[in-house]
């Protein structure tokens, strides 16, 4: 149960898309999408663009290696994302 009622701040369209997800893919981590979309201009867009740029594979680290490093950091932080 989310601490804040993020649904209330989402557009009808956003809620419809989330509803579709819930039907098609009940295990999808929808709360994270809600958080991105709740503050799309200030969180979702800049953060996802940054994530995309940071997680890109490079000659140093492949995309997979970066994802594993991220998962490792999350596990230390007690979080599954």
């Amino acid at each position: 149960m989310l601490l804040l009622n993020l649904d209330a701040g989402l557009s009808k369209f956003s809620r419809a898309v989330l509803y579709g997800f819930r039907i098609l893919s009940p295990d999808a981590p929808l709360d994270i999408l809600k958080a991105f979309w709740y503050r799309q201009a200030i969180f979702g867009e800049p953060f996802c663009a940054l994530a995309d740029a940071i997680m890109r594979g490079t000659p140093n680290w492949s995309r997979g290696e970066k994802e594993l490093l991220g998962a490792f950091v999350s596990s230390i932080n007690q979080c599954v994302f």
Partner: protein, 239 residues
């Protein structure tokens, strides 16, 4: 499966996969748990394992990125999906960009895990970092303007023990006139600040080690710009 088990499994797996480069996991752990203790010596260890300046810089960025999202997830109590592979599928299908907004799911290039430019460095990074830092600065300014004194302890929790943020904290903020959106912004601002603390700790050590400004994101990362606009209470925690 407990998170400590996940950490152990990942660490074991990565040691065998990455060989000497797995030293980066000890570094990532230190930067995540005790950013204030990271020094030039930690960078020297990584260098001695053959990691380049850019390689270390990229690892610092990954640590910083994930420390935002874990704080949002833990403090807002994101529901944990029972099957984690669905999240991975989502990421593979839409990529990070696709998750930015409801429309971007349909419009973004479904490059997924294999994005164009893979393996060629990060041409979009400086710009993306600048935009994110601008967002964080405006968030911090907004939160500071609207949040009452009670916000301080909440910010501290988000930064240090995000799963301790409780309904009582939210109620307390609301009773002082905060809207749900302000509470969200405050939590996001604190999470971003915790991430910047790690980014700064890592980059400070890296700068000192290589004695020159670092490539990718140095444009947006001079200290004043990083900390400007963040709430004063979180700024003092950051110190």
């Amino acid at each position: 499966m407990g998170n400590d088990v996940i950490a152990k499994v990942l660490r074991g797996h990565l040691r065998s996969e990455l060989g000497a480069r797995s030293a980066v996991f000890d570094f990532a752990e230190k930067l995540t748990r005790f950013p204030e203790t990271v020094t030039v010596d930690d960078i020297v260890v990584l260098q001695s394992e053959g990691l380049s300046e850019t390689a270390i810089s990229e690892a610092i960025l990954v640590v910083a990125l994930f420390s935002v999202i874990t704080r949002m997830a833990d403090s807002l109590r994101f529901e944990t999906p029972s099957d984690l592979s669905t999240g991975a599928d989502l990421l593979r299908r839409f990529g990070y960009r696709g998750m930015a907004g409801p429309w971007s799911l349909f419009t973004s290039d479904p490059g997924g895990l294999k994005t164009p430019g893979d393996g060629e460095g990060n041409p979009t990074l400086p710009d993306a970092m600048r935009r994110w830092l601008e967002s964080v600065a405006s968030l911090g300014a907004a939160a500071e303007a609207s949040a009452p004194e009670v916000a301080g302890p909440v910010v501290g929790k988000v930064m240090c023990n995000p799963s301790d943020v409780s309904e009582l904290d939210v109620e307390g903020l609301k009773s002082h006139g905060c809207t749900e959106e302000t509470v969200f912004d405050l939590i996001l601002s604190a999470a971003a600040n915790a991430s910047l603390v790690r980014l700064k700790a890592g980059y400070d050590a890296l700068h000192r080690s290589f004695r020159q400004p670092i490539i990718v994101v140095s444009a947006g990362l001079e200290e004043p710009a990083t900390m400007r606009g963040l709430p004063t209470y979180s700024r003092s925690i950051a110190r």
